[in-house]
């Protein structure tokens, strides 16, 4: 299983969710995106700009 590729796809999807205009959901989507980004980084990638 290519975990790095799956996480990259999830980050792309999370970025789309983060564009939501629902203020109640926005923080939760940001939380989700940050967790995915952290998983990508802790697997050895150099982090993209915050």
């Amino acid at each position: 299983m290519d975990e790095d590729r799956i996480l990259a796809e999830m980050l792309t999807l999370a970025d789309r969710l983060a564009a939501s205009e629902d203020a109640l959901m926005a923080g939760q989507y940001a939380y989700l995106r940050a967790r995915i980004a952290a998983l990508i980084e802790l697997r050895g990638a150099v982090a993209p700009a915050a």
């Binding site: 939380y31 995106r33 940050a34 967790r35 802790l42 982090a47 700009a49």
Partner: protein
Amino acid sequence: MPALDDPFVASPLLARFAGMSRAALEAHQLAKVQALCARLHARSDFYRERMDEGGLKGGVVDSLDRFVKAMPTSDKKAFLADQAAHPPFGSRLGVDPAEVVHISMTSGTSGQGQEMYGRTQHDVHMLGYLHALPWFMAGLRKGDIAINCVPAGGMTTGGWGPGEAIRILGATGFHVGGNLSTEAKIELLLKLGGIHFIYASTNYLHTLTEALLARGISPREAFPGMHGLFIAAEGYPVEWAEKIEAHWGCRLQEGYGSTQLNGFGASTCAAGVHRGGSRGLMRLFEWEHLVEIVDPVTLEPVKPGEVGEMVVTNLSVEGSPAVRFRTGDAARFIPWQEAGGGAWNAIECGTIGRFDDMMKIRGNNVWPSMVDAAVFAHGEIGEYAGRIYTEEGRTEIEVRIAVAEHKADLCAEDRAQLVRSVREAIKQRTNVWMDVREVPRSEFGEFAYKARRWTDERQQGYRL
């Protein structure tokens, strides 16, 4: 003692980091440092000024060697001045303040003030991960019941990391630190019917074990499912570690962590804190942190086997990163070539000290951890306290020891012998004769986290 499952087999990711060559590890560190410096040069006045001052124009770093030579160090004093000038986080924050979702503050025990660290959502995950990583290697797994004896919550890194970590690993956490007395903790542990892992400060694991034994409870019999003890924060003698493992029937692991590291930066992995009567090693998580161990005066790297100050750079922290931060923590450096495999450098277990805790006594450099080691090598002792004072112009040192509750039946002759033995052990480790006397155990309270056993009253001796 049952061996732990090999964590490097259980995690291909961990195996990859463990299998890196030194060159690959340093290439990884360089890529991370380059990204960090580029970001901070663009977003942090504090670090931009330092990079420009050191000659890292534009935040461009072309080698690790150049980075450690050109980038000026920072320290607690500089961080406090920065946040006083640019409250609340200082200009070192490095991210949009709106991205800060968590505050970590240092405890303030140094008396200089409390540094404030603004952490992002990403950093909160890393905070958990940097606690979960050593505990995974220490054997904590989904389905385990984990007891966290470190005070939870509040505004410290150690208050929130354990909760995040235990959730990340899928274990069940009971955060008993700071809100239950030792007696209440024991009642709870017995009611749970089975526990598997305990995280505590060195001092509190000692207190808990002593309290169990005083109640006639053998930990290994009461908790047969225990498979991991994990300590941090304070030094201890090897003999103490061996006795703790015998009482609990499982391996004792140790980690080195701090607020500046956003969690742990080193641990014994699964190897335990001692190796056949000598001290074990904590391997540095060098793919997450750049750790230099330097002479505190010259800032040159210490030689293998020497004690130096740890200077840390975070490689995966967004908000308030530490870049070449002088921790004040003293550790004995063991290079990766002498650490028993792999490319990670190491520090010695059980001897982490603070340069600012060092006491100059009659010309000798004495760390509280040296006296801790001498005193607690005697299993009959439950607690102690030290006091340095001046009398008739001469520095005197008083060490009060108390016999552990479970050794309360010690006869007078044995107690007198114990005092003599402790006095000689202290002299052997510190080169200083100290006045040792026994006092009742009730003279001492409990330390929930880090012990503060020493007072220095020498300046009072100079009052006119």
